[in-house]
């Protein structure tokens, strides 16, 4: 099963390497990894997406908890939560494809953030499925390159207790 794990850590050099090192040492796979400072500049939040059976996830979480620089670990998959990714897409833009690209961007509520003689650059945020769908629709029109972030996630205030 896919798990989104939120890890609050000391904002210090090398902490990310410790987290990632745990995965490489055990042969576990990381699907995505996002890091950024929190409101408190001495801490960072890492959002990590991985998959594995319950036993593996339990082991991973226990190992994180064991690390000196890890303050708090939360498996968001056990909670109602919001998850977002962002993608930047550079589209090949010819006079023929320009309107269609703009229409698609509009449907997905993507923003045009760069316009050139031969290309458009679009920006979209959303959950993983939305971004994947967006890219699938754009693909036949000629994607030149993409940059896609991993997931960032936070638990919702109101928990519907579905999974707990």
């Amino acid at each position: 099963m896919r798990h989104t794990i939120s890890i609050l850590v000391d904002n210090e050099p090398g902490v990310l390497a410790r987290i990632a090192g745990l995965f490489s040492a055990r042969g576990f796979n990381i699907e995505s990894l996002c890091v950024g400072e929190t409101l408190d500049p001495t801490t960072s939040r890492i959002t990590l997406v991985t998959s594995g059976d319950d036993w593996i996830i339990e082991q991973i979480i226990k190992r994180f908890n064991n690390m000196i620089n890890v303050i708090k670990v939360q498996d968001l998959s056990e909670l109602t939560h919001v998850e977002r990714e962002m993608v930047l897409v550079r589209m090949e833009a010819t006079p023929e494809t320009r309107p269609e690209i703009l229409r698609t961007a509009d449907i997905f509520r993507a923003k045009v953030i760069d316009v050139g003689p031969r290309s458009y650059m679009l920006e979209l945020t959303g959950d993983r499925d939305k971004i994947t769908a967006f890219l699938e629709i754009l693909r036949p029109m000629g994607i030149k390159e993409i940059a896609r972030t991993g997931s960032v996630a936070l638990a919702r205030e109101i928990q519907n207790n579905k999974r707990r």
Binding site: V9, A17, E58, I68, N69, I71
Partner: protein, 576 residues
């Protein structure tokens, strides 16, 4: 506040931490530390090892014998990489070792400067924690944190990397009184509800067994364990790391369990209905490695300070996270003192297993058998010496035949199985407990991995005894080749062997040799009761094998008891 050099802060903080000895070797980027060292010579003794791996094992041996952290000081690059084996050894056996490495000046970091290596990156997977100090002012706090992390919770090695400019820089000395880390709050006391549940499970057990590990020793839980065992009349089996945590001369003791454990201990674990595991992590050498077949009818109570060991290998019915000593004390509050539990049936069964396949040393009139030698050593010293064994067959015979009655008298590399550990670790143990008789039992293969430290031992006028078992082979490798690789003795024989007696003499130590069974006792007695560093080379039968044995991946009731049975398992084994 006094202004001083980083190098001086280093010593001031160590003294504040109560450090009395450091094991090390100088080099370019820590020369400032060595420069100011004479000033602190009264408070802190520096032991000059001949190799950083030796220094790290010495610090580890010191920690295991004393319970206090062992300290290493060395320079950058090759020196730091030399400590890695020692650090990984300490990590696997939860030994509090603090390693200080010199580093290139901060402006040079990452420039491939002379003797630069990424110590933090290299040691990240094998330390409990590590840190790079960036400013002189931060040095005392980093050191204090390192000692705090190394010695609390589940102990372990910590490395502090000290760039040269931090050491030669000057600032005000400020040693923090207390360390509090947001992400690090080990659980010491057990959860009361879980403790009540555990007591309930144990009280209703018909065939309980204590499965004790090294955590008992680190937490100093021996008195509480004895109390618990005597009140409830529970037989005790210990892992390799646990030996000494429960007195071998007590009737409830069943000896070591696991791959080379006794038949009765392993059968008792296998047939038990409740296992009380304390400070043990159910590793594959202690359980046989066949986790699904492990103790199929037992409910498992697992007491451990490290939550990540729980449910790692074995499904646990009642986990209790906490320090063994605290948790056992808490449990004792719920167990009446005047219980009169009848366990005649259970002990009858255990005695029967003991009679069927007793653990007995072998004797031979032509050749010295190592098991007999260890048994003799145990008798001569009355089980009272600190025995530091290296890794291999002799290590298992020490575990089987030496009667350890006190904690911290058995020191060995269990988790990592580091050949070359024994001799330097024995030196560390002797520095920690100079009044005790310390004996290193080494194999010829293991000893040759760190024998340069003979110079250090002689230089420090140590009273240290080495029993060197010479079977001209990597004995355990040969045993596995015999059992599992169709007797293909590839690279397990030493075609050239040093003359160990002359070697000892070349370093200024005393050398003795016994080749015949009738010379053994006199040689041991002469060696053990001579002053100084004495190396006793004992030439033994290379064909002796360690039995009983669980083949890797086997269950605890599937022991290979004797040579005759080995043919049949050759094909059934496919993993190490």
């Amino acid at each position: 506040m006094a202004r001083m050099l980083g190098a001086e802060m280093f010593f001031e903080t160590l003294i504040h931490e109560g450090v009395d000895v450091i094991f090390g070797l100088p080099g370019g980027y820590v020369l400032k530390v060595y420069d100011v060292m004479p000033k602190y010579g009264e408070a802190i003794k520096h032991v000059l090892s001949r190799h950083e791996q030796g220094a790290t094992h010495m610090a580890d041996g010191y920690a295991r014998a004393s319970g206090r952290p062992g300290v290493v000081l060395c320079t950058s690059g090759p020196a730091a990489t030399n400590t890695v084996t020692g650090i990984a050894t300490a990590q696997m056996d939860s030994s509090p070792v603090v390693v200080f490495t010199g580093q290139v000046p901060t402006p040079y970091l990452g420039s491939d400067a002379f003797q630069e290596a990424d110590h933090i990156g290299i040691t990240r997977p094998c330390t409990k924690h590590n840190s790079l100090v960036r400013r002189t002012r931060e040095l005392p706090r980093a050191i204090k944190e390192a000692f705090h992390i190394a010695t609390t919770g589940r102990p372990g090695p910590v490395l502090v990397d000290m760039p040269k400019d931090v050491l030669i820089g000057e600032d005000e000395l400020e040693i923090p009184n207390e360390i509090s880390l947001r992400g690090y709050k080990p659980t010491i006391r057990g959860n009361i509800a879980q403790i009540k549940r555990a007591v309930e499970i144990i009280m209703t057990a018909k065939r309980p067994v204590v499965f004790g590990g090294g955590g008992l020793i680190w937490s100093g839980a021996t008195p509480e364990l004895i109390e618990l065992v005597h009140r409830l009349r529970i037989p005790v089996a210990l892992t390799l790391m646990g030996l000494g945590a429960y007195p071998a001369n007590d009737p409830y003791f069943m000896s070591m369990l696991g791959m080379h454990g006794s038949y009765k201990a392993n059968m008792a674990v296998h047939e038990s209905d409740v296992i009380i595991s304390i400070g043990a992590r159910f590793d594959d050498r202690a359980t046989g490695g066949n986790f699904p077949k492990f103790a199929p009818n037992a409910k498992i109570v697992h007491i451990d300070i490290d939550p990540s060991t729980i449910d790692k290998n074995i499904r646990v019915h009642c986990p209790i996270v906490g320090d063994a000593k605290h948790v056992l004390r808490q449990m004792l509050e719920f167990i009446p003192k005047d219980l009169n539990i009848d366990r005649r049936e259970w002990f009858g069964k255990i005695d029967e297993w003991g009679r069927q396949h007793p653990l007995l040393p072998k004797e031979n009139s032509d050749k010295i058998m190592t098991s007999h030698l260890i048994d003799m050593l145990s008798n001569i010293t009355n089980g009272d010496a600190i025995i530091v064994s290296d890794v291999g067959q002799h290590q298992m015979w020490v575990a089987q035949f030496y009667k350890f009655n006190r904690p911290r008298t058995h020191i060995t590399s269990g988790g990592l199985g580091t050949m070359g550990f024994g001799f330097p670790a024995a030196m560390g143990a002797k520095f920690a407990r100079p009044d005790e008789m310390v004996i290193c039992v080494a194999g010829d293969g293991s000893f040759q991995m760190n024998m340069q430290e003979l110079a250090t031992a002689v230089e420090n006028k140590m009273d240290l005894k080495i029993v060197l078992i010479n079977n001209e082979h990597h004995g355990m490798v040969r045993q596995w080749q015999t059992m599992f690789f169709n007797k293909n003795y590839s690279a397990s024989h030493f075609d050239v062997m040093p003359d160990f007696v002359k070697l000892a003499e070349a370093f200024g130590a005393k050398g003795l040799r016994a080749k015949r069974p009738e010379e053994l006792e006199a040689t041991l007695k002469e060696g053990l009761y001579s002053d100084g560093v004495v190396l006793m080379e004992i030439v033994v039968d290379y064909e002796e094998m360690v039995y009983p044995m669980i083949a890797p991946g086997g269950a605890m009731n599937e022991m290979i008891l004797e040579d005759i049975e080995r043919e049949m398992i050759v094909e059934s084994v496919d993993m190490a």
